[in-house]
Amino acid sequence: MRKVAVVGTGHTPFTFASDKSSVELFSEAAMDAINESNLKPKDMQALYVGNVLGDFSEGQAMVQSYCADDIGAFNIPATRFEGACASSTLAIRDAFIWVASGFYDVVLAGGVETAAKMGTPLATRTFAMAHDSHYEYPIGLTFPGFFAMLAHLYSSKYGVPLQRLKEQMALVSVQSHRYGVHNRVAQFHKEITVEDALTSFMVCSPLQLYDCCPFSDGAAAVVLASEEKARQLTDKPVFITGVGQSSSGKLSSQKDYAPRIRAREVSVKQAYDMAGIKPEDVDICELHDCFSIASIIAAESLGFAEYGKGGELWEKGEAKVGGRIPINVSGGLKSKGHPIGATGASQVYEVVHQIRGQVEPERQVEGVKIGLTDTLGGDGVLCNIVLQKGW
């Protein structure tokens, strides 16, 4: 398999309800990625777009074909990826495999979502479609409800008193907001305190408002190229050196490992093994913090902390810039925002920019060589990507 590099990136601001359509948002991100790569739309040999709920938010299905046409990449093969919140990570992983295999030399991949446009009731209903429609939705399970149940299970299983766990969760959100202030694309540019987090309204016990990511609109995209092509286009290629993907059933199917998401451990092992690295080799991580508890659970499965001790990373300052394992210094899903079809591409964008030394100085990590992205779609899709500095 050939080596594959990210040669161009694009990212719209992540916002509350947008006044642009999904096709418009993706086109903006895509053109920035194509221009940065010093290529043209007609050079793209395929387009992979993550988009989960465009059918509901805009009445627009099949967005990928219109995106290709819109940017002048006429008649190229275009495919939509749906993996709930992991959709654009799936798109990028697949694009990587097609280029690594030699079938394509240059592929445009990313994602877009306009979830905020739906308003809370419809967004809550449609996000709940990433759980079991027959065996869970009738009971009233919603997206925050799933993670809320993991939080109580975590407290009970690991013997972390709920109040302490909630304080750890609050620290995760406080850190997210602190860094989001300095990220130009972030939805929120305001700090919060632990007290704000612990006194905000209850969504699904024990998760309160600031434990939960917002509904967001936005798009992000990358151009991938073979090593040979990349070296013609840029002197700062960032290589994708490992990918992993896994699936799982609903929560009751995950009983043997919960609150660990077993599928993540399967997926990240593939990525680490392919890249030939261990967790301690990772210089920066963008992981899936759709809810504060999800950060703690993810950090453990990715190998950054022992099970039951993930919250201590934030208590001890180990997850901040300058810490042992900087986590979500982009602001993460909580304060950068979470347009679910675009989040995977946004995480890759952040890691690429950190490796290139191109992010705002307040949140730039020194000497980043290896980064890891981690996306959890619903309760059933896991995808991980390892990226490495190529110069």
């Binding site: 209903r125 009233g140 929560l251």
Partner: protein
């Protein structure tokens, strides 16, 4: 290959307070809610079985933010119950005020009530014949 125990059958039984699952002829373990293959060993040598409906609460949440069209329900309590036969089953806990539910309920024994609440279909489920008459919600009370 025919799907042995469909949602349609599971749902019909649950509406009458009966909990069905599948017992595996290869590993003797139970699968519930039903699937095509045994959730423990992956075999498709399965027989429909009646489960007791009793177990203990392993986790829960009280939900305050409703999904579209379900405003009248909040707040409500969701529990995950480890059935005595082994599988985990999600349902609603109905004999405690949701505002009084705390971590203290984890570990408590519950049983399926004789009448399950039923959710009418919405725009995304209305056509499915498997859901005729609405979706039963496993409804637990303290044992």
């Amino acid at each position: 290959m025919e799907y042995k125990l469909t949602f349609k059958e599971f749902n019909k039984a649950l509406k009458k307070g009966r909990l069905l699952g599948l017992k595996c002829r290869d590993c003797d373990k139970f699968t519930c809610p039903p699937k095509m293959a045994c959730q423990e060993c992956g075999s498709t040598n399965l027989d429909t079985a009646a489960l007791g409906g009793s177990g203990k609460i392993v986790t829960f949440t009280v939900s305050y933010v409703p999904s579209e069209g379900r405003d009248a329900e909040v707040p409500y309590t969701i529990v995950m119950v480890e059935l005595d036969e082994g599988p985990w089953l999600m349902g609603n806990l109905t004999d405690m005020d949701p505002n009084r539910v705390t971590m203290d309920i984890v570990g408590r024994r519950v049983q399926l009530g004789s009448r399950s609440k039923v959710l009418p279909g919405d725009a995304y489920s209305i056509g499915g014949k498997e859901a005729e008459g609405g979706f039963a919600r496993p409804t637990f009370i303290f044992a």
